[in-house]
């Protein structure tokens, strides 16, 4: 399926809960394919959407390539899902944007096991809480590390456990 057909089918199935199709113009053909994304207007429907993407036979998005988090520096955070069907060979990106204040979205670990560690990393680095994640601990930093470093407003602490941070 082409990405336009996929977007059409998703819009038909989810209607208002999905937002606009942001297509890259210019750039290489690869970027037009892998840089365009579909917006998710209602982040709380992410898990339903994920199940639909994976289980609908004509979509068959069995592979979550990457789950990334993004700080837009305007008080909102985004989360981007790059999914692909290894059988049908099509890809699509979906992006949900929500307020940075108590950011929380449903976890898709139950849909794609690959999301498990990436969601933990997003929680660790960007402070996005994933509802329904089986084991939402910090991934790379210490359990007691203050704050979430990849947020644009993150200030490095001067002291960590009473030790001066050298740089």
């Amino acid at each position: 399926m082409t990405q336009h057909e996929i977007v059409g089918q998703l819009h038909a199935a989810f209607g208002e809960r999905l937002g606009a199709w942001r297509e890259m113009t210019g750039g290489s053909s690869y970027q037009r394919r892998m840089g365009s994304h579909l917006e998710i207007a209602d982040p709380s429907s992410i898990r339903d959407l994920a199940f639909y993407l994976r289980d609908d036979p004509s979509l068959d998005f069995n592979n979550l390539m990457l789950l990334s988090s993004l700080d837009n520096a305007d008080g909102t955070l985004s989360i981007v899902y790059h999914v692909e069907s290894t059988r049908l060979g099509h890809q699509i990106a979906l992006k949900a944007t929500f307020s940075a204040e108590d950011a929380s979205v449903p976890s898709v670990t139950s849909v794609w096991a690959h999301a498990n560690w990436h969601e933990r990393e997003a929680w660790d680095m960007m402070g996005i809480h994933f509802e329904g994640h089986p084991d939402l601990r910090r991934m790379l930093l210490d359990e007691d590390y203050p704050g979430h470093p990849l947020r644009k407003d993150f200030k490095e602490p001067d002291f960590y456990h009473g030790m001066k941070v050298p740089y």
């Binding site: 390539m65 790059h82 096991a113 690959h114 560690w117 991934m139």
Partner: protein, 403 residues
């Protein structure tokens, strides 16, 4: 009770904070009471391949659960990128997958070139693919060698390192560095190919086929090695795709999936090579042996690609390898997810540009990170000795896992 026994009880009861410190009843329901033991493997352990820490719950010697703890080598790559220009990031990319730095660079520069729509000279593409494939062999040599070490065979490891030395020598001649190259630049290369390298490559291909046969005899078809690795850590193909396995880990399950074929980049569509997949003739599909076997096959396929490059390489092309490098590396507003096949699997870069000389956000899909997350799924129920072998078969590089 002797003091030492008491202390033992204390250390094993740390799992349950509220457990009493006195000795529990030794007999329960008419049977000898047994307890699970928590073994802490790493971050300093000979076979965790770096600073990985595994919290292993053991019942006797049987692994009940494995909880990987990572982050000991975390160097905030993604935070660093927000403060660096695009070319400045390349040395940091080297330090992610330090075993296969060329492949990492290749993935990164491909991503940026795709964002800026740069056409790279043909000669540059040939050199890039040549070096990426040499790097793939070098990386697989380490994977195969250390895998032998995990199984207790010391000697193949040194044979592998002997051959890898030749590859590093070629890299050193060309760009001056043996390990962390900063060789592939956005739109070009830092140096032209050293005139000796093509000759060295021809010799290397011959010698490497010899080593390949030798390693097969010494390790792959060694009865003890097959006994140790066949049938353990079995990964189902459905689970593999769902859990984000890629590279040899995915192909060992029988899934024919290689970015070089399925989503070709650079000039890989010009070469004739097969995607190495696991074989159910030798062992169970998706087990630790097949992961090793796929690496052995890929080694051969990489040699095939190198031979074709040696035939096709434009020897008389005098194009400056830096001619296509843009004056200002400033991708237009937009984003991309670009992926390439490194020795460990699918290396993806999600780059968001706001039209600045610095990226807004770079997120890496590191294959080792995704592959390692499958470890708990495939190692439950096997012995401690198997756990080490399974971990070795995943072939992780902690620099890439922790970034």
């Amino acid at each position: 009770m002797p003091e030492i026994l008491e202390r033992r009880m204390m250390s094993s009861s740390t799992l349950h904070a509220s457990a009493p410190l006195h000795a529990p009843e030794m007999v329960e329901h008419g049977r000898l009471r047994t307890e699970e033991m928590v073994l802490n493997m790493g971050p300093q352990h000979p076979s965790t391949h770096g600073v990985l820490r595994l919290e292993v719950v053991l019942d006797g010697e049987v692994v009940v659960d494995v909880i990987p703890h990572i982050g000991y080598l975390h160097r905030c790559f993604e935070k660093h990128t927000e403060h660096l220009t695009y070319p400045q990031i390349i040395p940091y990319v080297d330090r992610m997958d330090y075993i296969a730095a060329m492949s990492g660079e290749h993935g990164y520069v491909t991503a940026v070139e795709r964002m800026m729509n740069i056409e790279v000279p043909e000669k540059v593409e040939y050199i890039r693919v040549l070096f990426a494939e040499l790097q793939r062999i070098a990386s697989h040599l380490i994977a195969i060698g250390t895998y032998g070490l995990d199984a207790g065979a010391f000697t193949p490891f040194l044979y592998c390192f002997r051959d890898r030395e030749t590859i590093l020598e070629m890299f050193e001649k060309t760009c001056g560095a043996r390990f962390l190259y900063n060789y592939m630049w956005v739109g070009g290369l830092s140096h032209d190919l050293h005139p000796d390298v093509l000759g060295m490559c021809r010799d290397f291909v011959k010698k490497s086929r010899e080593t390949h046969r030798e390693i097969n005899e010494l390790l792959t078809f060694n009865h003890i090695f097959v006994q140790r690795t066949a049938g353990i850590g079995v990964l189902d193909p459905q689970v593999a795709v769902n859990a984000g396995a890629s590279g040899p880990m995915l192909r060992s399950t029988g899934v024919e999936w290689d970015i070089r074929k399925n989503d070709p980049y650079s000039i890989y569509d010009r070469f004739d090579f097969e995607v190495a997949v696991g074989s159910s003739k030798l062992a169970t599909l998706g087990d630790a042996f097949n992961r090793h076997w796929v690496r052995m096959l890929e080694w051969e396929q990489s040699l095939n690609i190198i031979e074709q490059i040696l035939e096709q390489y434009p020897v008389h092309d005098t194009t400056d390898v830096q001619s296509a490098i843009p004056k200002r590396i400033k991708p237009p507003v937009g984003e991309i997810y670009s992926r390439t096949e490194t020795p460990r699997g699918e290396l993806g870069y999600y780059i968001v540009s706001k039209g600045d000389v610095k990226p807004w956000r770079v997120k890496v899909r590191s294959p080792a990170f995704s592959n390692l997350s499958i470890l708990p799924i495939i190692s439950r129920g096997y012995l401690v000795a198997d756990l080490v072998v399974i971990l070795g078969s995943i072939d992780i590089v902690l620099g890439e896992v922790d970034r």
